[in-house]
């Protein structure tokens, strides 16, 4: 393994084989953008996520899926049919060169191909194989089918998200969008693989990792489990704010431009916060009677909570655009934010200061596009998108011929026989 140099990602020199669909592609991206050599192994027709929209210019095509583009940056791509013996033989040769294999097949599938961990590590004792599956490799649900929505239901996310009855009567529990069940699974899978890699730097030993997306989701509802375990409470859903055992004051208000603002009062409505709030609103002539000295008495504040929150605060926010409320409030120490649509982030000056947005070349189109950047700045070993998502089989020649030593003729034969 080569020494990582300054100017390269922290995982430079690592090789990951990714055999994954929607469940694990984000995990592969996390590794690739941090410098690992991620080789995505797709079926000969390409991974099914290539058929998930939206598509470039709304023209459906396996090379135009923006979802596939996003989740597969910094990877090389090859095709391989594991259901053929030639395909399996080539996979074994690749597996012998890998540090990590990430797979999301149904439990037992790799074993049915005799490509399970025990057989692969015979040629590669340091190998780490991570199976990232909906429910893990064992248990009564291990063969159940899933989807992002299903995980958000069973994981507990939906039981915590929704509306106050007064806002939307009879509303269902709501599953937040964006494919976050897969993100949750991928974050934990990344963590488990990195822990195994750290252990390997010390011991030289590889291992097998069984990650359950259901468990990852079940771990991602903050205090909900503690509320039940320690107090027996089942929490209620509330509009745009925390679940709670009983009703809490609202924190989401519509601003003048129709965008909402999340305005929590950290520490609650104490005299100091009420004074700061009055000062903030007074700048806009919207303090109402809040500057009255009587509001320095906690008992008076408590008796007028609804007047302050639902009356004065709501009216103030309704009179000012959301971005202006956000920045004016933060400047005065209030932990508030505008509820932005994702596209508004492109105008965020703070992200621009951090060089967050990256331009990614798509040479086959002769175009380049702006992509979101890094979750964290690694000051000693920078994150970066090394290439756009691979085209189907784009690196077949480079890897099968260049690295495994196949001749062009052999590659042709394997392509004609649908092995590659």
């Amino acid at each position: 393994m080569s020494d990582a140099q300054q100017g390269q990602g922290p995982l430079t020199g690592l090789r990951i084989l990714e055999l994954s669909d929607e469940k694990g592609q984000f995990c592969g991206k996390l590794f690739g953008d941090l410098g690992a050599d991620v080789i995505k192994i797709e079926p000969p027709d390409g991974e099914r996520n290539r058929h998930v929209g939206p598509f470039l210019d709304d023209i459906p095509h396996p090379e135009r899926s923006l979802s596939f583009w996003y989740y597969n940056t910094s990877k090389r791509g090859i095709t391989l049919n594991l259901e053929t013996s030639d395909g399996r033989a080539l996979f074994r040769r690749l597996a012998a060169t890998a540090d990590v294999i990430l797979e999301t097949f149904r439990p037992g599938y790799l074993a049915s191909l005799r490509l399970d961990f025990d057989s692969l590590r015979a040629d590669n004792p340091g190998l780490i194989l991570c199976s990232l599956t909906p429910f893990g490799q064992t248990g009564p649900w291990r063969d159940y089918l899933s989807s992002d929505l299903l995980h958000m239901a069973a994981g507990g996310e939906m039981a915590s998200c929704g509306y106050d009855e007064a806002d939307v009567p009879n509303a269902p529990p709501i599953a937040p969008g964006g494919g976050n069940a897969w993100h949750m699974g991928c974050h934990y899978a990344y963590m488990a693989i990195m822990a195994a890699l750290v252990f390997r730097t010390v011991s030289g030993q590889g291992q097998y990792i069984d990650v359950s997306i259901h468990e990852a989701c079940a771990l991602t509802t903050e205090s909900a489990i503690a509320n039940y375990v320690y107090r027996g409470e089942v929490l209620r859903r509330q509009t745009g704010r925390h679940h709670a055992p009983g009703p809490t004051p609202r924190t989401q208000f519509r601003a003048k431009d129709g965008t909402y603002v999340t305005a929590l009062i950290s520490g609650g409505l104490n005299p100091r916060n009420v004074k700061n709030l009055a000062d903030l609103m007074d700048v806009y002539g919207m303090a109402g009677d809040l500057k009255d000295p009587k509001y320095q008495d906690p008992a008076v504040i408590a008796a007028h909570t609804s007047h302050i929150i639902d009356g004065l605060l709501a009216s103030f926010i309704a009179s000012v655009p959301a971005e202006e409320v956000y920045h004016a409030a933060q400047a005065r120490g209030f932990t508030w934010g505008a509820v932005r649509a994702p596209e508004a982030l492109l105008d965020d000056a703070h992200l621009q200061d951090r060089n967050f947005w990256k331009t990614v070349e798509h040479p086959e189109l002769g175009r380049s596009f702006v992509y979101p950047g890094e979750a964290a700045i690694y000051n000693g070993s920078p994150w970066g998108i090394s290439r756009r998502a691979p085209l189907i089989g784009e690196h077949n020649t480079e890897i099968f011929c260049g690295e495994l030593g196949l001749s062009r003729g052999e590659l042709s034969v394997l392509t004609e026989t649908r092995v590659i």
Binding site: P10, L150, I209, Q252, G337, R340, A349
Partner: protein, 441 residues
């Protein structure tokens, strides 16, 4: 312990508080690192205020249930880092540690005299992970966040809700959980890089910034196609598409119907299940599971385009059926036939009724000296050679002060007593817990 731990011999100086930082170090601890949590009762946030203290127990620094679950696998050193003596002790600790983690606002550690440069003088290859709201650079670095604010500003809140309604958002600090994950991921990545190269670094993780890459496809739809997500029918609730609005992918997966939450028997607050059919075969199976009702034979439901177009009617029919079954019975019937269905589960459901989580030992009881025996959440991954285990309950505040100061750092017992007398290890005017008195004997 018979099996080795992945992070054997790794020591973490943990200044983190509230939720995101402690959630990060919880996992490093489960993986075998020694986590030394540095706390000060006067400025503590995370133990108090507590809304998760069991009924019948006093609310104090040692009785928060949520703190307890979030802080298993750690030791606690009570120390006034803002005093010269406290700072000196912290520096001696950093000198023999591998990782420093904190989730303060962006300039706090620097103002204490513990910026990255200073840490490097003490421990040149230290891996320093700062977990602030907005990061250590950029014009808004001093802004503060909670999970809900990071989620709002970064676009995550907007993805959740029904069309033409206010955002439903996330009913908890998703970005405290996920920010914590990123903190742990950064620490492990930095540690791996250090082991491979001998070099440490400062990793600047930021809760608001870490939220943005979770919106990838929505962002590309804008940067590539120019389509924003403030549009009719978005967000589409639990559906893949909201009927009567332009047919556009909504960033959750394939655009199909049925794809929704349905009420189940007996119609209580969390009696819901979700059903999704990704393909015609799955729909045909669902029809059979429902008993092949005549309405389902209609041509308008025969194709995915038809089911999307007639979704209101489709969902009403499905719900009339789902209301006849309990959510677990419905799940078993559907899954046995190859239909995607799962129950909406509350925390109680997950802990008490979920057969999969029970089988996988997700919640195992652990005793705690102030709280008694309660179930603690386990890791969602099983490592064959180095299992993640919850090896110790959350610490009482300052529980390990003597062990760390005398045992690890080599100070004498008189130094410990002097430090309690002069306010280094505990505020002089604050009552001590009995275990602290015992420490001083």
């Amino acid at each position: 312990m018979s099996q080795p731990r992945a992070l054997e011999n790794i020591r973490v100086v943990d200044f983190s508080w509230v939720r995101a930082g402690p959630w990060a170090t919880r996992w490093l601890g489960a993986l075998g690192a020694e986590i030394i949590k540095i706390e000060w009762p006067e400025t503590e946030r995370g133990r108090l205020p507590s809304s998760t203290t069991p009924q019948g127990l006093d609310v104090n620094l040692n009785t928060s249930g949520n703190f307890s679950d979030t802080n298993v696998n750690k030791k606690s050193l009570s120390l006034n880092v803002r005093s010269a003596k406290g700072l000196e002790i912290v520096k001696r600790l950093i000198a023999i540690s591998d990782i420093v983690i904190e989730n303060f606002s962006s300039r706090v550690l620097q103002n204490w005299g513990l910026g990255y440069e200073e840490m490097c003088k003490i421990k040149p290859d230290i891996v320093y992970v700062s977990m602030s709201g907005y990061g250590h650079t950029g014009r808004n670095h001093a802004y503060t966040t909670f999970g809900p604010v990071a989620q709002a500003v970064a676009g995550l809140t907007h993805l959740s809700g029904l069309p033409e309604q206010p955002p439903a958002g996330w009913g908890w600090s998703y970005m405290d959980d996920t920010g914590g994950m990123y903190g742990a991921m950064c620490a492990l990545t930095g540690l791996y890089h250090r082991n491979m190269t001998g070099r440490g670094q400062h990793i600047d993780q930021a809760q608001m910034v870490s939220s943005v890459p979770l919106n990838g496809p929505a962002l590309l739809d804008f940067t590539v196609n120019g389509r924003g997500s403030k549009r009719p029918g978005f967000p589409p609730g639990n559906r893949a598409h909201w009927p009567g609005t332009p047919l556009v992918n909504n960033y959750r997966g394939p655009t199909v119907a049925p794809h929704n939450a349905y009420r189940t028997h007996p119609g209580g607050y969390n009696d819901w299940c979700v059903i999704v059919c990704h393909a015609d075969e799955e729909w045909n199976q669902l029809v059979r599971v429902m008993g092949s009702p005549s309405w389902a034979a209609s041509d308008k439901f025969a194709t995915v385009a038809g089911r999307l177009q007639h979704q209101e009617e489709l969902d009403a029919h499905i719900e009339a059926w789902s209301l006849t079954l309990g959510k677990y019975a419905l799940t078993e019937l559907c899954q046995a036939a190859g239909v995607r269905a799962l129950p909406v589960q509350s925390a109680e459901d997950r802990v008490e009724h979920d057969p999969q989580l029970r089988h996988r030992d997700m919640y195992l009881p652990m005793p705690h000296s102030a709280l008694g025996v309660h179930k603690v959440q386990n890791a969602p991954f099983k490592l064959s050679e180095t299992p993640a285990v919850n090896s110790r309950p959350s610490p009482l505040i300052g529980e390990h002060t003597r062990e760390i100061v005398e045992g690890l750092l080599g100070y004498g017992h008189d130094d410990l007593r002097a430090g309690f007398d002069d306010g280094t290890f505990w505020p002089t005017k604050r009552a001590r817990f009995p275990y602290q008195e015992d420490m001083l004997l």
